[in-house]
Structures are given as structure tokens and as C-alpha cells.
Amino acid sequence: MTQCKDIRAGLDDWLDHLADARIRAEIDAHLAECDACTRLFKRHQKINRDLTALSQAADRMADTVKSKAATSRAPWWRPLLRVAAAILIVAGAGLFVVRPWQPEAPVQIADNGDALPPDHQPPSPPAFRITVPDDRMAVPVESANPRIHIVWLYQEVLPPDEAAGDDADDSSSTPSKNKETVRCYESC
């Protein structure tokens, strides 16, 4: 009876395949001559097999959950979308290589309202020359129309005291003179 108790203590290791060869041999030898222990071990072995079958059933159920999750994550048309995007990118790049993009030339309108040919070159503005007197200062002003040139001619007016000291030609007084001059321009 004591031997049965010792053998049954090794039941878990025997079921878990953790018993070493010596213990397994002892158990097998005992089972060969003890019907009660054989029934018990076989009973537990059967439960173990059923647990494995049950586990496999659960794994099959889990597979359907996983596949459902994978399907819901990626819709069926997702691969098609990827292929279409790749085709568009390749086609676009190919077109750019074959015929680089050129901006459409704006339509030019003549003075009389007629459309000018695309290769029409507008006449270059005539060069002009103005004579700036010595006591004037010419300041070109930007204009929106390239055919119109605006030049402001400023008369340089110096304050009387600075004009008198101008002959001294003191280098240190130059900045203040220039400053006054600029102020004069602004006031003009």
C-alpha cells in the first residue's frame, strides 16, 4: 500500500513527462502488477488527452478571432489601392522624364485688343538719357509699367550754417552734413 502511495506521488511528473527514466521504470513496473494504480493513471492520462483536445478546440476558435481581426484591419481593396498608387507614381514619373512639364505661356494682348502670337517679343523699352544738373540729385523710382520710367530730381538744399562750413571740408562733419541733406530730401 505504501508503495502505491509513493508511486501515486509521482503521478503529476509522469503526466507532465517530467519523470526521469528511473522513476518511469519504477512506475511502469508497479502499474504492471497494481490494477488500482493502473486505473488511476489511465484515468488521468485520459483526462490529460481530453484537455489537449479541448485546448486544440480553443485554439481553432482563437484562430477565427485572429483572422477576423486581421481582415477587419486590412480591407480587401487595400492591396488593389497599393497597386494603383504604384502604377500612378510610375506613370507620372515616366511622363515627366519623357516630356518635362512646361508652364503654359500667357496669351499676350496687343494695344488694339488682338491676341499676339505666342512667340511675340515685346519691343524693348527705348533707352533714355537725362542730364542731371550738378545741384540736383536723381533718384529713380520703381514703377509697375516697364515702359514708364520715373526719376525724381531733388534739389540739394543745405542749411545755411552747414553750407558755410562746407568749405572747411572737415571729414568729421561729413556725416552730420549728409544727415541734414537726407532730412532735406525727406522734407522735399
Binding site: 503529476d12 479541448l54 485546448s55 478546440a57 476558435m61
Partner: protein
């Protein structure tokens, strides 16, 4: 994770909810100790959520999930499904710790060391849980058989 949850609750909707809840808990109460690993923590969380599930749905029938040879007669198929269903019911009657230990050992095929880490118990305690779970399971199944015979 979904496999473990299914082996305890046997309902796909419940199992999905449990796993989602476990991932949500990971964000708020994830493993905090420096030596604590993520995987055992997740297994423990899923197992605890399975045991504490309040609004439990009915277990799904095993009919379409059981692998039975095509040559088996309809009566044999029915008997086999009934056997597995009885086993499932008996497992559900086990105390929580015993149930988790048994499922992790015999169905998830985990080592006693890994189970001890998941359950935050000693290896000896886990072996004890598995041992008593097996004994109790055999008793419950024998009682079912006796009942069916009488």
C-alpha cells in the same frame, strides 16, 4: 492571449473584450517594477480578468471546433462532444487559482517556472494547485459519470 482567455471563458466575444481590456490596463497599470516582464504581466491580467468577468456570456458549443475523425458515427461524435463539454464544465467548477494553474500547465503547455512567474507564486505552490486541480477534476468527472449511469 486570446487563446488563454478562450480556454477559460469559452466565448469569443468575452475573450476579445478581456484581451482589449488587458491591453487598456497595460497603458495605465502596466508592469512597473524594473524586473517585471511584460508577457507574464499580460497573462496574469488576462487570467484575472477571466476570473472576474461579471457579465459572462454562454460558452460557445464545441460542435464545430472539436476535431473528430470523419469515420466516427454521429453517436460517437455526439458522445465525444459531450465528454469534452463535461470536462469544460468541470474545469469551470474548480477554484480560480487551480483553474488558472491547470489551464496554463495542461492546455497552454507552460513550464511550472513560467506559471509561477505569471501567478506570482512559488513553483511548489503551482505544482500543488495543478495536483489538486487534477484530483478534483477526476472526482467531478467521476461524479458526472455516476450521475449519468444512475
Amino acid at each position: 492571449m486570446i487563446g488563454l482567455a478562450l480556454k477559460i471563458v469559452w466565448n469569443r466575444h468575452d475573450a476579445e473584450e478581456i484581451v482589449q481590456e488587458a491591453f487598456k490596463l497595460t497603458l495605465t497599470n502596466g508592469p512597473r517594477l524594473p524586473h517585471e516582464r511584460y508577457e507574464p504581466w499580460m497573462f496574469r491580467t488576462v487570467a484575472n480578468l477571466c476570473l472576474n468577468l461579471r457579465r459572462r456570456r454562454r460558452p460557445e458549443p464545441l460542435t464545430e471546433w472539436t476535431d473528430i475523425p470523419q469515420t466516427a458515427s454521429p453517436a460517437d461524435r455526439l458522445q465525444r462532444i459531450e465528454q469534452l463539454d463535461n470536462l469544460r464544465t468541470a474545469i469551470a467548477k474548480l477554484p480560480g487559482q487551480q483553474r488558472i494553474a491547470l489551464v496554463l500547465r495542461t492546455m497552454e503547455q507552460m513550464s511550472y517556472t513560467d506559471i509561477a512567474e505569471i501567478m506570482a507564486l512559488s513553483v511548489a505552490a503551482v505544482r500543488s494547485h495543478v495536483h489538486f486541480a487534477r484530483q478534483r477534476l477526476a472526482e467531478l468527472l467521476d461524479a458526472d459519470t455516476m450521475e449519468a449511469q444512475s
